[in-house]
């Protein structure tokens, strides 16, 4: 979207067909899909940025750090993906693109933990996780009390083992922002690399755009409009998935091939409808009771609901 241009925003989607044989295992997990997607998003944003001039902001939903480092399933693919991801970020830095990750309703409490560590005497630090000074307090709550409408917090540097690979200008930082107002705050966390933090113009531009984008969504559900649209376009609904499965099945069968069978468990789950159960009128359930035994429910011979 070119803000203020009056031009129709552009939409680009990339589809990649992956064959299961490419992978060592016979199962392609959700976390593997997410990893591939996160890397592809950054690469795509970099590619699209080539067509534009001026101030360019590349925003993704979710943390800036590539997720998957603690996921054993992905361990084999993760290093390669991280290498590609870091390369994409480096290229963005070279092109002076403002990169950011938007986390809606953040659950991490890094600032609260920082305050707990700062408030704990040196000799008690080893127990800081057990003896929490601010137990029950969250970053979200804290900043909802502090930040006024559209204000942002100070910028913090992320200190985590998993983020050590993001070195120098790629080092991950974050700030909190209130895209709502004082009475109804909506706190989000924005992850940014160091090169954005060190450039006040970039930081302010990102802040400003996030406020404007969230305002587009109206008064009750402030969330960056472009991220919502990206999600709307990308999502594959259950119904669409079923339709694709049907199309594939028809094509496979028409070529004389065979389809795998549903498991008996899944077949039972897919059964439609439910029979009306009769309420037992008296006595214990059991085949010897006077009413007899009907579909596992005892019914009185003269009375049923």
């Amino acid at each position: 979207m070119q803000i203020g241009s009056g031009n129709t925003p552009e939409v680009e989607t990339d589809t990649e067909l992956r064959v299961l044989d490419e992978f060592d295992d016979t199962y392609f997990s959700d976390s593997q899909v997410a990893l591939q997607r996160d890397v592809a998003e950054r690469k795509k944003l970099l590619e699209m940025s080539e067509r534009y001039s001026g101030t360019i902001i590349a925003l993704t939903e979710g943390q800036l750090e590539l997720w998957g480092s603690v996921d054993n399933e992905n361990a084999k693919d993760f290093e390669k993906s991280l290498h590609d991801y870091l390369h994409a970020l480096e290229e963005m830095h070279k092109k002076k693109i403002i990169a950011g990750g938007y986390v809606d309703k953040p659950g991490a409490n890094w600032v609260v933990k920082l305050l707990e560590i700062a408030g704990t005497p040196q000799d008690e630090l080893k127990n800081v996780r057990k003896n929490r000074l601010l137990a029950g307090v969250t970053d979200y709550w804290m900043f909802s009390q502090i930040l006024d409408e559209h204000e942002r917090s100070a910028v913090f540097a992320l200190q985590a083992k998993s983020a050590e690979k993001y070195k120098d200008v790629l080092a991950i930082h974050f700030f909190y922002i209130n895209v709502g107002n004082k009475k109804y705050p909506k706190i989000a966390r924005v992850d940014v690399p160091l090169w954005v933090v060190e450039n006040p113009g970039m930081l302010n531009a990102l802040h400003s755009v996030l406020v404007e984008q969230s305002k587009i969504m109206g008064n009750s559900q402030q969330f960056p409009y472009l991220l919502h649209r990206a999600h709307e376009i990308a999502i594959v609904t259950h119904r669409e998935k079923e339709e694709i499965d049907r199309l594939l099945s028809r094509d496979i069968l028409s070529r004389g091939s065979q389809l795998g069978e549903k498991s008996p468990k899944q077949s039972a789950k897919d059964l439609q409808g439910r029979t009306q159960l009769s309420v037992p009128s008296f006595g214990a359930l059991g085949p010897r009771a006077a009413g007899g035994w009907v579909s596992g429910v005892w019914t009185h011979p003269r009375y049923s609901h």
Partner: protein, 152 residues
Amino acid sequence: MYGLIHDIHIDDDGLVRQLVTADGVSEEVMKDNRERRIVPVEMSVLAVGYEQDGKVHHLLPPRPPLSLDVIYLCEDKDMVRFTEKFGYFRHILNGKDVPVGEVLAAHILQAGKARGADGTRWIESATQEVITLLRDDYPTLMSVLGALADIS
């Protein structure tokens, strides 16, 4: 297959309802919603006949449209060919949940225009046919004639 579109509606769009609560909608957002978003439009089509081997039949089609069949507007020449006779009027008059008077009036106006100079004569013949078909249904006849009056 030939049919008449008699109902176009747009299902509830939650995003648009939310956007209008904001102070002003920018041109980029408006264009995005008009040109880029798939709007949940539903159209109802009343089948009135079909063509097979070059011959037009004013009977109900032998099968319904297949999934993903393309629907497109008739050109004038197709309209003229299909409406040479009035046998298909009964499908419109018998249509359930169809605003009979409005659909017939709109169709007669459109078919008349497709005929150019010969349009007026065709409209008169079509109106006469409607009167004949509805001679035993006075309320519907009055409703249809009221709608037809608006196009004359």
